[in-house]
């Protein structure tokens, strides 16, 4: 993460950080041993399926590992990493979090699926798909907040665009019409938000909340008034087909996960990369960040603060519109009331968790997407602990990570403040 590294009084802070990281790793190691290591059946084997049914990828044999041995290996890795961290210290915090996440999840899955088979590729693939709307919401948050406009109305925008996507797609019998309609409406609603907060200096949170309420109200109103009686003519669009990228989709595991998706997932992946480049390597990105950090200075240098904010918020709305389209024409082909189910807010959390950077936001979204898809798989596996507790894990982990492992999330300095000349 190239942004937001404000460091004060480094040595004492790093000392403390090093020890707390090291201790965390050791504790995770002990927890893995206690939870999964002891409970593993000796001699049991876990089968990780690597082939996805109906995929073009080259078939490979499934990965079969001894359950107990694998769990002990994970304990070993995390304990070693912890000891190394305590003794020497590792610079990259991302690596440490990665080690914790990897060892814990691997040990957990090995334990949960012992004597059974678990389709790893299917899991990864559905994680990415489920992360898509969250990532798009998060990208909307990133692009708006980098220009210092908080958009809390993403949830409402996604609901409205989800509805218009399916309705227009059904009416015109063309999914791309639906996609474009969703993007345009997203931009339009965001423009309304921008107008209120920039022109009238309405409190940004207030405007966002209003958009959420209007979005939920309007879509539910429209749905019960028109859609429920006319499913075939208004609310049955079909979904975007899976596009297989030639050659790349043949790679085992990676192919079905990354290269056999529908257009919205690809667009999301492209947007993550594109926005990273735009924000950090182009004049436009520099201007945007200047407006977000110090609008007065930006203004003095001749950057049009208001225009930049309008453009960013509207672009963000269009991205959220794409995310809204995912819910209907990207996944189920019909609209249900309140179908976004808090994904917009999760996206907001991902924005902050990812420290206002596109790649960070995407990585955070993957965590939530992974958790989402784990939920479905665990019900199939019938794990002996209540699945609800496992489902809490990503939320608890997010809180713990925010609490200190990653440190304070520092927003753009002018985030949320109206600018007056």
């Amino acid at each position: 993460m190239t942004n937001t590294t404000i460091q004060t009084n480094t040595t004492a802070l790093e000392q403390r950080k090093r020890i707390s990281y090291g201790m965390t790793l050791l504790v995770v190691g002990i927890l893995i041993y206690l939870f999964f290591g002891i409970n593993a059946i000796p001699g049991a084997q876990t089968t990780f399926g690597l082939n996805l049914l109906g995929s073009q990828a080259i078939q490979v044999s499934d990965l079969v590992v001894p359950a107990q041995g694998t769990i002990y290996l994970m304990v070993g890795i995390v304990i070693f990493a912890g000891a190394y961290q305590l003794a020497r210290g590792v610079k990259s915090t991302g690596l440490l979090i990665g080690i914790i996440a990897f060892t814990f999840v691997t040990a957990f899955l090995t334990w949960a699926a012992q004597d059974k088979s678990f389709n790893l590729t299917g899991m990864l693939s559905s994680s990415l798909v489920r992360a898509t709307p969250i990532a798009l919401a998060a990208l909307c948050g990133v692009i708006s907040e980098r220009a210092a406009v908080i958009n809390i109305g993403i949830e409402g925008i996604m609901l409205m665009t989800a509805q218009i996507a399916v309705v227009t797609a059904t009416m015109f019998q063309n999914l791309y019409v639906g996609l474009i309609a969703a993007i345009l409406l997203g931009g339009l609603v965001a423009a309304f938000h921008a107008f209120l907060v920039i022109r009238y200096k309405v409190d940004q949170t207030v405007s966002g909340v209003a958009i959420n309420i209007i979005g939920a109200g309007f879509t539910s109103f429209f749905s019960s008034k028109y859609l429920q009686g006319a499913t075939d003519t208004l609310n049955n669009s079909g979904t975007f087909p899976i596009i297989s990228i030639p050659y790349l989709s043949k790679i085992p595991v990676l192919g079905p996960t990354l290269f056999e998706n529908n257009i919205i997932v690809y667009l999301m992946l492209i947007l993550v990369v594109l926005m990273h480049i735009l924000l950090f390597y182009t004049p436009w990105g520099l201007r945007t960040r200047a407006v977000g950090e110090h609008p007065k200075a930006a203004d003095t240098l001749g950057i049009n603060v208001y225009l930049t904010r309008y453009v960013n918020v509207i672009l963000g709305g269009m991205i959220a519109g794409l995310g809204g389209a995912y819910f209907t024409i990207g996944s189920v082909g019909r609209f249900d009331e309140l179908m976004t189910a808090g994904k917009g807010f999760i996206g907001l959390a991902a924005t902050i968790f990812g420290k206002w950077s596109p790649i960070g936001a995407f990585a955070s979204s993957l965590i939530f997407g992974f958790a989402d898809s784990l939920q479905v798989k665990l019900q199939i596996l019938r794990v002996p602990i209540p699945s609800e507790f496992l489902l809490m894990a990503p939320y608890i982990v997010t809180m713990i990570i925010l609490t200190g492992v990653v440190g304070r999330a520092i927003p753009p300095a002018a985030d949320g403040q109206p600018y007056e000349k």
Binding site: T205, N212, I213, G217, K225, F345, I352, L402, A409
Partner: protein
């Protein structure tokens, strides 16, 4: 207001710290009232555009919210003539039902408003509401054979405590580690939902197939004032009492002053020697307790059991309420009453005029926009100047 000098004088007046309490009441209410009227008019236009009759619809809404005057008068006449109050009670049903609907709104709105005053954005009222309801329900049904005078306060206290703990955790994390309360309260919401899924389908499930808790014991129910169809209960007055307590706390105590200072300017408060950490934890606990009490009032006063989806939308409506009430406790009460009347009347509107209740959400959203952007209202109604009274509602991500 036509006098130029006086209007100039008004704009230069310093902002008052007590919100609605300061300045003339009429002026403070002018924008909200006009905003509500404009919202209703626009809602009517939506109805017209979708082929319904707005006059008939609002008639049904009004009757559903307040009752029909003629039946109330008839009820009173029958009562005095024959001493039979059945008809009177029946005619009061719509009005009392609106107050019943408003009760949890008051509590939840106070919760968010209190957070705003301290510069904290509590999106977690939803989860706190759910946890409060579950705690109250548990104490309510698991303890038997206690006199009401002990059992009821115990059940209420359990709800407040549950909500307080749920609010305190993000408050502490914010104060001690600077972890974002917006993210953490959202996370706490989801943890609450998962926890309730588990509780309702396991430890707290009544002995049937539905994921609901058993009914609370009669000694833990908030007493109702009339017989059965009317669900009007003590919870409403409890809510009003808490609105006053929050007002007193914010504006009449030193601690409340500190809370408001921290909200208005955290840095200055810190240099003035105020303990930011203590304030954040205190406010989030108090806010959580209030949201928990919203759940308590609903479960002990109205439903008497908790099921899945119990908290449906209260947390987010609460944000709207706090904004509408300008984060002032009495403003929140008025806003909650408005929501209560609208929501309760809308059910009647749906059955009589065939307009989905969701129109109310559209109207609510519009009202918030107009209240937040008084310039639009000023422009619409050609009001030259208003005593603009600004309070900081939210401050970005609560730095």
């Amino acid at each position: 207001m036509s006098d130029k000098a006086s209007s100039k004088n008004k704009t230069t007046e310093k902002k008052t710290s007590e919100g609605i309490g300061g300045g003339s009441l009429g002026q403070a209410l002018l924008v909200p009232v006009l905003a509500v009227i404009t919202g209703l008019i626009l809602g009517g236009i939506v109805m017209l555009a979708t082929g319904s009759n707005p006059i008939q619809a609002y008639g049904a809404l009004f009757a559903g919210a307040f009752g029909t005057p003629s039946t109330i008068i008839a009820g009173i006449q029958t009562y005095f003539a024959t001493g039979d109050n059945a008809e009177l009670v029946k005619s009061l049903y719509p009005f009392t039902e609106s107050l019943v609907t408003a009760t949890p709104y008051i509590f939840a709105g106070l919760s968010v408003a209190l957070g705003f005053r301290a510069g904290l954005f509590n999106i977690g009222a939803e989860g706190q509401f759910f946890i409060g309801a579950l705690c109250s329900a548990y104490v309510g049904y698991s303890i038997k054979d206690l006199p009401m005078i002990i059992h009821l306060p115990l059940a209420i206290g359990a709800g407040a405590l549950g909500g307080a703990i749920w609010g305190m955790i993000p408050g502490y994390l914010k104060a001690r580690f600077g972890a974002h309360e917006v993210v953490n309260t959202i996370m706490m919401n989801w943890i609450a939902f998962r926890l309730s899924d588990w509780l309702l389908s396991g430890p707290m499930q009544a002995s049937n197939f539905r994921p609901v808790t058993p009914n609370v014991a009669a000694s833990a129910e908030l007493p109702r004032f009339f017989e059965d169809p009317l669900r009007f209960n003590l919870g409403f007055f409890l809510a009003l009492l808490f609105a006053y307590i929050v007002y007193w706390f914010l504006f009449k105590t030193t601690l409340g002053f500190e809370v408001r200072s921290v909200g208005a300017n955290p840095d200055a408060s810190k240099y003035a020697g105020m303990n930011i950490i203590k304030n954040f934890v205190l406010v989030m606990s108090f806010a959580g307790a209030l949201a928990g009490l919203a759940g308590t009032a609903q479960v002990l006063g109205v439903d008497h059991w908790v099921g899945q989806g119990f908290s449906a939308g209260y947390g987010f409506d609460a944000i709207a309420l706090a904004l509408l009430g300008k984060s002032h406790p009495f403003g929140v009460v008025l806003a909650a009453l408005l929501f209560g009347f609208l929501r309760s009347g809308a059910t009647n509107m749906q059955s009589l005029a065939g307009i989905p209740v969701d129109i109310i959400s559209i109207i609510q959203g519009l009202v918030i926009v107009f209240i937040a952007a008084p310039a639009i209202i000023r422009w619409l109604y050609r009001i030259k100047s208003l005593k603009v009274e600004e309070i900081v509602l939210t401050r970005g991500w609560g730095k």
